[in-house]
Amino acid sequence: MNFLELTYDILPALLKGTVVTLELTVCSISLGFVLGISLALGRLYGNRPISAFCAGYIQFFRGTPLLVQLFILYYGLPSYDIRLSSFVAGILGLGLNSAAYQAEYFRGAIQSISRGQMMAARAIGMSRFKTILNIILPQALRIVIPSWSNELIYTLKYSSVAYMIGAPELMAQGKIIAAENFRYFEVFLVVAFIYLVAVLIVSRVLNVVEKRVRIPGLQMAQ
């Protein structure tokens, strides 16, 4: 069997894995997005205990390996009678981890907005909450796009770690196929290529989004 025939042969199974990879990525990046914004806002605008909690969360999840976090969720929690499927544990692990990184990206973006704008909004009688919603976040979300693209690409690739807890994603499918036909080199070459294509598409899309929401006249940091 030459390389092309082999590819043709294994592609259906790999694409099935790809779908799982994409599901893992979308779910965990979304979870990380919601949590990350909350953590960044809590850290910046929360009172002392809230701010300290958010900082602690970020420290913990950035300071420990993703694989360890996944093992705790998947193999550790059953000791407390919490049994998660490998897919759910994967989403949770990747999402909680990503939230820590996204929080820091959001914090940077928010802090790059001039303090004067917060003051000006308060000066026309806008509450702090409304100012964050109407003035700060719309700008922060634009500023954050380049670094957030990195995070999305990272999550897409590192979702492969979820194969270690048995999630049937792309990497796991590759491993199964290669273990059957011993064509490790070719199989993982195809796996790598699929990741590459997915990453390229994602970066392209985010590039377009970034251009679409650009604020006229304003030079955005690259």
């Binding site: 004067g116 909004a121 000066a123 026309i124 109407n134 604020i215 006229p216 006249g217 304003l218």
Partner: protein
């Protein structure tokens, strides 16, 4: 208090300390409805701090401030409500960079005053016309000159229907050739009867527009009075020296 003119702003014995430095050491003054008062003084003497105390962006350590009889410094006062009536204009404009000129002016009407969008748009356009920028309604702050940005920020403050407009060095961040257009707008405002407190070193403006000039140094009011008196025959030697120095530096930019 004069019987025929109501007091819009009353500041009584305001103190503020940052760390070890007492920036305001008991400032008291009044602004009557329709008056324009210009506050001058060397930099770092608490002028901006004083203005920020007026809408509680800075909370004074002691002293009381009233706007139209409502005590702003009272902890129970709904400050978001009061701030709508105080149209603060900042040195750095502080326009919302992600919003067009129109949206900058309109957002307070829609989000704070809860006015319906069409009505808010008409209202906002009226104020853009007033500052001469109706043709820039769709432009974003980064596409506008400093003078235009400052005029949009004045329109934004005006749109809320303020009883009082504090200006914190509104022309200090501008290139000299752009100062005139902003002062022109402010002059028209004063003439239309707006009550204004202006921290500024534009002596031409102070001389021709203000009802009274307040000279602050080291956190206290050194002297206050009508411009003719302060420029012509000030009581304190220090006032004279300061005005001479300032007039040399800034005096030529307006009102020859």
């Amino acid at each position: 208090m004069s019987a025929n003119q109501t007091v819009t702003l009353k500041v009584e014995n305001v103190h503020k300390t940052y760390g070890k430095e007492e920036v305001l050491k008991g400032i008291s003054f009044e602004v009557k409805k329709g008056e324009t008062k210009v506050i001058i003084g060397p930099s770092g003497t608490g002028k901006s701090t004083l203005l920020r105390c007026v809408n509680r962006l800075t909370i004074p350590d002691s002293g009381r401030i009233w706007l139209d009889g409502v005590e702003i410094t009272h902890p129970r006062t709904n400050i978001n409500k009061v701030r709508q009536s105080i149209g603060m204009v900042f040195q750095d404009f502080n326009l919302f960079s992600h919003l067009s000129a129109l949206d900058n002016v309109r957002i307070g009407l829609i989000k704070v005053k809860k006015i319906e969008k069409r009505e808010a748009t008409e209202e906002a356009m009226r104020h853009l016309v007033r500052v001469g920028l109706e043709d820039k309604a769709a432009s974003y702050p980064a596409e506008l000159s400093g003078g235009q940005q400052q005029r949009v920020s004045i329109a934004r403050a005006l749109a809320m229907g303020p009883k009082l407009m504090p200006f914190d060095e509104p022309t200090s961040a501008l290139d000299p050739e752009l100062i005139g257009e902003v002062l022109e707008v402010m002059r028209n405002l004063a003439e239309s009867g707006m009550t204004m407190v202006v921290v500024s070193h534009e002596m031409g403006f102070a001389r021709s527009v203000s009802n009274e000039i307040i000279f602050i140094e080291n956190g206290v009011i050194v002297e206050e009075g009508p411009p003719q008196v302060l420029f012509g025959n000030p009581e304190h030697q220090r006032t004279k020296e300061f005005l001479c120095k300032i007039s040399e530096l800034y005096g030529k930019s307006e009102g020859k």
